[in-house]
């Protein structure tokens, strides 16, 4: 009996809802929460001269015709990691997490014949800069960007942009610190003279981009060549103007369904093909002057935040996509 393998994390509500639909359509699946893989499952990868075989519980990898990579799971919060925390100033836990990454790598490579929804290898080889290059190649408009470690370069770039620029993390936005002192690393507006008064000549390479005057933000869920788009009216609210993730809970931004122009749809399909992705959440901005500007794709993005306000039933569509790949 061919099965679907779901790689996800404990307590992921979106996975639960998609699984409800898989049950409804009566298909076989195995859910693995990567965060408790080691505690709750038996895994073995035997390699000898003649062949190699990966087994998860009673299943061999060849039983899984389809693999859905929904979420990485936070290994950091697994039991093993919590126990090793603070031992030898975290050197042990850092070693463990490298070991674990190597193991996950081995696991994913063993699925040579399976069809993927969200191919792990494509995800791992896609950083923000590569995304911008591919998007531009696919005909999408992108923000003018500079990554530099040099003050002079930064000043010149800001001059060229006539002062309107933002700085954002090259990897992921983060919040850290102590409960009393929280630091939020997220996109920030830069003042015109920011780098002029900067004392250091060299710093960690930083991503600077032109600031786009937003009309609306677009969040697009992409699945097997279809786009499900949502417009976010974040510019109505000072608090969410630069980044809608500065949620205003009292008066949430308006989230409504959106029809993308045909040319943009075509370019997005083209971009996703270049990136080797059959699903992902794409962030774009429609500027006041009518430009549609690509910002980034998050292959494992939360589709719940698009599905629910727009009533798109993406949970069911994902289930159907997986079933489709089985046949």
């Amino acid at each position: 009996m061919p099965m679907i393998l779901i790689l996800t994390a404990h307590g992921d509500h979106s996975t639960d809802q998609t699984i409800d639909w898989l049950n409804y359509y009566n298909v076989q699946y195995q859910r693995i929460n990567i965060d408790d893989l080691l505690a709750n499952h038996t895994v073995a990868y035997s390699i000898d001269h003649n062949h190699s075989e990966f087994t998860i519980d009673q299943h061999q990898t060849s039983d899984f015709k389809v693999v859905w990579f929904r979420k990485s799971g936070v290994f950091r919060s697994s039991d093993l990691m919590l126990q090793s925390k603070n031992i030898l100033s975290d050197q042990l836990s850092s070693f463990l997490s490298f070991e674990y990454t190597a193991f996950i790598q081995a696991l994913t490579i063993s699925f040579t014949k399976a069809k993927w929804l969200c191919n792990i290898e494509a995800v791992n080889s896609l950083d923000k800069t590569k995304q911008l290059i591919l998007a531009s190649k696919a005909g999408l408009d992108i923000p003018e960007s500079l990554i530099t470690n040099d003050r002079k370069q930064a000043i010149a770039f800001l001059q060229k942009l006539k002062g309107k620029s933002i700085i954002k993390p090259l990897a992921e936005s983060e919040i850290f610190g102590t409960p009393e002192n929280k630091y939020s690393i997220s996109p920030k507006l830069l003042s015109k003279d920011f780098f002029r008064y900067f004392k250091r000549k060299k710093f960690l390479p930083s991503l600077i981009q032109e600031y786009l005057e937003k009309d609306i933000e677009l969040r697009i869920f992409y699945l097997d060549s279809e786009c499900y788009a949502m417009a976010i009216f974040s510019q109505l609210d000072e608090q969410t103007k630069v980044d809608y993730r500065n949620y205003n809970f009292k008066k949430p931004n308006r989230f409504v369904p959106y029809n993308l122009p045909k040319t943009i749809l075509k370019s997005i399909q083209c971009f996703m093909e270049y990136a080797g992705l059959n699903t992902g959440s794409i962030d774009m901005i429609k500027t006041k002057s009518g430009r549609f500007v690509f910002l980034e794709v998050n292959p494992k993005g939360q589709y719940d935040m698009v599905s629910n306000p727009c009533n798109y039933f993406l949970e069911e569509k994902i289930a159907l996509s997986l079933i489709n790949k089985l046949n």
């Binding site: 009216f233 949430p252 369904p257 727009c310 009533n311 069911e316």
Partner: protein, 335 residues
Amino acid sequence: MGNKYIRLFACCLIVKGNRRATLVDLQRGDFIFLPLQIAELLLQSNSVTVAQLTSAYSEEDAGEISKYFDHLIKNEYAFYTDEPESFPLLCLDWKTPNHITNAIIDYDRNSFFNIRDVVNQLEQLGCATIQFRFYDAFDFSFLMQTLTHVADGIGKIRSIELSLCYNPLISKLQYLKLINLFPRVISVVIHSAPDGYDYKFPGSIHELRYIQQKITNETHCGFISPEYFRANKYFFTESLQFNSCLNRKIAVDKTGDIKNCPAMKHSFGSVFSTSLLEISHQPDFQKVWSMNKDKIEVCKDCEFRYMCTDCRAFIPDEYSKPAKCKYDPYTMSWA
């Protein structure tokens, strides 16, 4: 703004009543009233510009209309745009992968059916929400036992609402222990209490609601009042097609009878002799599911109809509005 289009945000939906309309904000969970004429204009507004909309009106009336529109814009119910075709209407479909979505289990000191057995059957049906209503005071170990039945299941049941009878022997801390042990408990109401108040556990998001009302049986239900109105997408879209209280609900009353609702007279069988699965697939059992507000007298002309939880237990006849509703949409007044 004359040559622009005015567009409601897709989550703001007009419901026309007999004398006025409501504009229901599904995202922010609220509603406002609109005069019927304004509602009509807004319903045509994606195909004609604001100037065209108001062209048939006198200058004075057109001024009034623009004022209304500005009010909607300012309060973020609507926006002006040059490209209305980019902003489609909200899809109003409602569907669920689960055969049964919610259940009520009633129990008092004379009940003797097996709760664990009922819970197991509900899991098989995919039921996500259970409401337990206890009419008599039970001790702490009984509550623990009941919730353990749910926790031991296959995880289909995702939320539990408790309506309990006041028991002076159970402390607030014990209730907190219960809630912490069973995170699926999303609300606890304690009736027949000496005082009525909401108690918030310090340093926790959880709370207990004490009410003085004595809830001794299933007749304490079915009240219609604005404080029970619900403006959200799930409820609204379900109400468009289905009965807003009974759709995909199954109930076991205190004697073990299987019903659409414990307060309804008709029993489809008893848990002692038949299964919830069997009953829930009977066409007769499902008949009331499709009784939406558009089929109910009076309600079908009411501007609250997709926010209002229906009741089919207390009605003079099949198509009457709930007997406990005091609203008259023809005069726009609450009796």
